[in-house]
């Protein structure tokens, strides 16, 4: 219940402003989807590193927030899904991810 893990999040910040926890979360998700082999650890780590080299962390967080609201019900979600200005960061993330796929997978 008490997650001491979280304590680490504030302290550990890696290069390009991406917290280690954000990279780790990405890698965990990526490996869950693609397999847990050591090879996949390399590919998934490569993928987030490429993304981190292409878009600033704050833009990554914006895209993450928009994507989080996809499929959520209610006024809040429909507003975020509707607003045009929020589509650009998602598009940039998608493009970075495609680039990462090419380079890493």
């Amino acid at each position: 219940m008490i997650l001491s893990l979280l304590l680490l999040q504030a302290a550990t910040m890696s290069s390009a402003g991406y917290p280690t926890s954000a990279r780790a979360e990405y890698v965990l998700g990526c490996m869950t989807a693609n397999g847990r082999a050591p090879d996949m650890l390399q590919r998934c780590s490569c993928s987030i590193d490429v993304i981190a080299s292409l878009i600033p962390y704050d833009d990554y967080v914006t895209a993450e927030t928009v994507l989080t609201m996809r499929g959520v019900a209610g006024e809040r979600a429909s507003m975020i899904n509707d607003v045009q200005v929020l589509r650009a960061p998602v598009q940039r993330l998608r493009e970075a991810q495609v680039e990462a796929d090419l380079r890493c997978f």
Binding site: M1, I2, L3, L6, L7, Q9, A10, P19, A22, E25, Y26, V27, L28, G29, C30, T32, A33, N34, R43, C44, S47, I48, V61, T62, A63, E64, T65, L67, T68, M69, R70, G71, V72, A73, G74, E75, R76, A77, M79, I80, D82, V83, Q84, V85, L86, L93, Q97, A100, D101, C104, F105
Partner: protein, 598 residues
């Protein structure tokens, strides 16, 4: 009386820090709300200031803040509201299915009990705006929960056992429950939700000991329903007259009149008066409901004991934009133009900050707290009427044609998430939306239990801007903003101001931010596991100050999952991956509790 006293004593012995209970819940809570070590009601105190005198965590050391512990609710969907802290117990609530967890702070937050009501799943479909719940209330050794299906339940605070339950409304006709109960005197008050379903709004008082209904006051209809006195109830100092709740409607339309009461209730014990707001009138298509639609969009002052209306003020007569008037009423005593006044300050969805004399219902001030607001140019303080801008009238534009560029959007310049007021700085801290809309009314027929909306909306930030949110420090007497922080997303989290000179608020990205109360300088930020639409609170335990917030918007971005997956397996892969991810990614809400070490 005997029974009540017994319950009170039980509670006192069970809770380390609870003050000695008196016979009345009213007296007990009146004392408890001044004890900064606890957080005894959703808005912190009866005046709804969401302010704490705690200052262990302050401007100088907040940068050292870190997570002390966290708790996963395991429930999906949006987590509004925030936990209560009563003595050594913390009470955490969730959206539907409306679980309540009692956490024992003296045992590292171990779960003392869990309550999960049985509710029909079909209530989910009729909740317009996510299956949220804004929190539980405490009094006389009981925890009160207002469930999605409108059931009000009283739980023994020590065991979680149901003491009584009462049914407030009928989900089959679209009535639901989202609001936090308010307890004042020996009554528990709840307002209803369902304004998008053509239900009638009402505030209802139940006896805290038995659950028996004591009074119900509707937002429209004859005086016997609205509990208005044609001579004694006033609007801007004048008697309202007979059946004023019928006057603003054509025929029987008041029976689908909306005016739900899903926001917050404040209480002034010196005059025994409660204050709350009513929401939008039934159907968003204004052409279908000619008249002022009284008393939707109204600030209500009622006698606690009888429910009788003392005064009303309708902010947006004949609403054309869905500017619900349900936002919180903050009770502040301070000078207004050189005179000591008992004020009520209200930041409405319609974008105006109203200042009223809460004793008389006199309108003292109304200014835009977001400069983008353009549906009205000003509010006439004599008549109380907004001076409308004809180009922004969705009724004038007509059915099936969008009226473009209206600010604010239907969600308002500020939604239900409550403001904070610091008596130290004299400033309000407003979590704001900065969003405009195109609004297209469409004809709609009423079918019980079905949405009665009749409008299509498109939303975007004001022209030339990209930020959808603002966090604003507002001087209520000068009626202008002192500083503001532009936020990418609307701020949907209720802030907390403290005597430490810090204001805390949450963002949709999941950041808990601490800013300097005087300057707005960001002193600290931490990314919680999900977006924050909950309200921040603070308390002490073992002499140490903690800050707590619920995060959780109900979704997960799944960014990493998309990597490397080929297109045709996206769907299946996602489902399988989601299942796997539940092992380590918490898709539910999280309570995060912060401390400054040392």
């Amino acid at each position: 009386m005997m029974k009540l006293r017994y319950a009170g004593l039980l509670c006192a012995s069970a809770m380390l820090l609870a003050p000695v209970s008196s016979a009345s819940a009213n007296d007990e809570l009146l004392t408890m709300q001044t004890d900064a070590s606890q957080w005894v009601m959703p808005l912190g105190n009866y005046s709804s200031t969401r302010f704490s005198t705690l200052k262990q965590i302050n401007r100088d050391n907040v940068k050292n803040m870190r997570v002390a512990w966290s708790f996963s609710t395991g429930v999906l969907r949006g987590h509004e509201g925030g936990p209560l802290v009563i003595g050594n117990m913390m009470y955490v609530h969730t959206p539907f299915p409306n679980k309540v967890f009692a956490l024992d702070l003296s045992k590292d937050g171990a779960i003392a009990w869990t309550y999960e009501p049985r509710q029909d799943n079909k209530v989910i479909a009729i909740m317009c705006c996510d299956t949220v719940n804004r929190g539980v209330a405490y009094a006389a050794g009981k925890i009160f929960l207002h469930q999605s299906d409108t059931t009000l339940v009283a739980l023994d605070a020590k065991t979680g056992k149901v003491a009584w339950s009462a049914v407030d409304g009928d989900p089959n006709v679209g009535e639901t429950g989202t609001s936090a109960p308010t307890i004042a005197g020996n009554l528990v008050l709840i307002g209803n939700s369902g304004g998008e379903f053509g239900v009638r709004g009402h505030m209802t008082a139940y006896d805290i000991a038995t659950g028996k209904q004591v009074w119900r006051a509707y937002s429209q209809g004859p005086d016997s329903d609205t509990l208005m006195d044609p001579k004694k109830t006033t609007v801007l100092g004048k008697a309202v007259g007979k059946d004023s709740g019928l006057a603003g409607w054509k025929g029987d339309q008041w029976k689908l009149g909306g005016g739900t009461t899903w926001g917050w209730t404040s209480f002034d014990p010196t005059t025994n008066t409660i204050f709350y707001g009513s929401g939008n009138p039934g159907t968003w298509n204004p052409a279908q409901r000619p008249g002022d639609n009284r008393w939707s969009m109204t600030i209500w002052a009622r006698d606690l004991t009888t429910g009788k209306a003392k005064w009303v003020y309708q902010m947006t007569p004949h609403d054309e934009w869905d500017y619900d008037g349900i936002n919180e009423m903050v009770l502040v005593d301070r000078q207004w133009k050189g005179k000591d006044r008992k004020l009520l300050v209200h930041f409405d969805r319609n974008g105006f900050a109203y200042v009223m004399d809460r004793m008389s219902g006199e309108l003292l001030g109304a200014e835009k707290f977001d400069p983008a607001v353009n549906w009205a140019s000003s509010v006439d303080l004599k008549t109380g009427l907004p001076v409308r801008v004809p180009e922004m009238s969705t009724e004038k534009t007509g059915e099936d044609i969008p009226t473009k560029g209206i600010c604010p959007a239907a969600l308002g310049s500020k939604d239900q998430q409550p403001v904070s007021y610091s008596p130290d700085t004299g400033l309000f801290y407003i979590p704001g939306n900065h969003v405009c809309m195109d609004y297209e009314p469409t004809k709609v027929a009423y079918v019980a239990g079905s949405p009665y909306v009749g409008a299509t909306l498109l939303m975007y930030p004001p022209k030339g801007e990209t930020n959808l949110g603002r966090f604003v420090a507002w001087d209520p007497v000068a009626q202008k903003s002192v500083w503001e922080i532009k936020e990418q997303f609307s701020v949907w989290s209720g802030p907390l101001a403290t005597s430490g000179g810090v204001v805390f608020y949450g963002t949709m990205e999941g950041y808990l931010k601490a800013v300097d109360a005087k300057t707005g300088e960001v002193l600290y930020r931490f990314k919680t596991p999900s977006g924050i639409i909950g309200n921040i609170n603070t308390y002490t335990f073992g002499g140490k100050q903690y800050v707590a917030v619920l995060s959780g918007v109900g979704g997960w971005a799944a960014i990493g999952m998309a990597a490397g997956l080929s297109g045709d397996t996206d769907g299946l892969g996602a489902v399988g991956a989601y299942r796997g991810l539940s092992d380590y990614t918490n898709l539910g809400g999280t309570l995060t509790v912060f401390e400054v070490p040392g």
